[in-house]
């Protein structure tokens, strides 16, 4: 396969990638991904980054005193 034709397929795949990911389709099963190392690597990287990002932001407790601030803001708001 010539580099130009391969590049065209990569371009088409990348153009569809946001839709593929959004739709929940198994982008890894796209025929082009199976035969193109670069696109497979791109897909794996994007999935790994998204997954790693989700682990970066766990739920945390707010400071104890925050309720006191909210409570007084509510009372002030009422008054």
């Amino acid at each position: 396969m010539s580099e130009e034709i391969k590049s065209m397929k990569c371009a088409e795949f990348q153009a569809q990638l946001p839709e593929l990911i959004e739709s929940g389709a198994r982008a890894a099963e796209d025929p082009h991904v199976k035969e193109c190392d670069l696109c497979r690597e791109l897909l794996e990287n994007l999935e790994a980054i998204a997954e790693a990002a989700r682990q970066l932001f766990p739920e945390v407790e707010p400071p104890e005193e925050l309720w006191e601030h909210i409570d007084s803001a509510i009372k002030k708001d009422k008054g």
């Binding site: 990348q14 929940g24 407790e61």
Partner: protein
């Protein structure tokens, strides 16, 4: 978190319980895992809600206790600053107190509250003068993002693990609009039509910015083999 890394490839640690649920190294990452906004939210009973809507301050305090973690964490993710997150959490619950009587149950209470908090965050970001969406960035890729440039070569591939600190830095360094859409979609789990509605932009624009954000993160995390470090 420091030097810890998120494995990209390698043996699965799922069985050992070393990773949070839904994360299994070495296997294809799920395309649509549970987003933050669908995390197990404490259920507000109809009775509790009714009491709060009738002005029972104790009931409102209980609702705060049930949802404070989720709303504070949302604000912290979106702003990246604990002091501002506290301020916005306060503003969100103040807004909730003003509006709770208008909640009619068209959606789940937790969904409604989450969206209310997102709106508070967006108002703050707009007030700060941050450009939340680039209207000139439609689906047409720019020269630097055309295929070929955005694909890795041997010297640009990610290594076997993602450094949490580098990823955190890369996310923080994203332009405000890219960061916002990345957080709303990939972390909070909103769909593009919902984001387009919130940000008053087109669905195509939201998709385009998300894709560019992901590519920028990938670029920032690439490692050069000749000791050039990460860029």
């Amino acid at each position: 978190m420091g030097q810890s890394k998120v494995p990209v490839k390698g043996p699965s640690r799922e069985a050992s319980g070393a990773e949070p649920p839904g994360v299994s190294a070495g296997q294809p990452a799920p395309t649509k895992p549970t987003p933050a906004r669908e995390s197990v939210a404490a259920i507000v009973s109809p009775e509790l809600l009714e009491r709060a809507q009738a002005g029972d301050h104790g009931a409102f305090a209980e609702i705060y206790s049930l949802h404070k973690r989720r709303i504070y964490s949302l604000c912290l993710r979106m702003l990246g600053n604990p002091a501002e997150a506290e301020d916005l959490t306060q503003e969100a619950f103040l807004q909730l107190h003003r509006k709770i009587a208008t909640f009619r149950g068209e959606s789940a209470f937790s969904t409604w509250l989450h969206r209310l908090a997102i709106n508070v965050v967006l108002m703050r970001l707009r007030k700060k003068g941050l450009q939340l969406i680039s209207l000139d960035e439609a689906m047409e890729p720019t020269t630097e993002e055309r295929p070929g440039r955005s694909f890795g070569g041997d010297d640009l591939s990610l290594t076997g693990a993602i450094d949490r600190l580098a990823l955190q830095r890369a996310i923080n360094d994203l332009p405000a609009g890219y960061r916002l859409i990345f957080m709303l979609h990939d972390i909070e789990g909103y769909e593009h039509n919902e984001i387009a509605d919130m940000l008053e932009c087109s669905i195509g624009n939201s998709k385009s910015q998300l894709h560019k954000a992901r590519l920028k993160l990938r670029d920032a995390l690439r490692v050069h083999p000749r000791g050039e470090g990460q860029r």
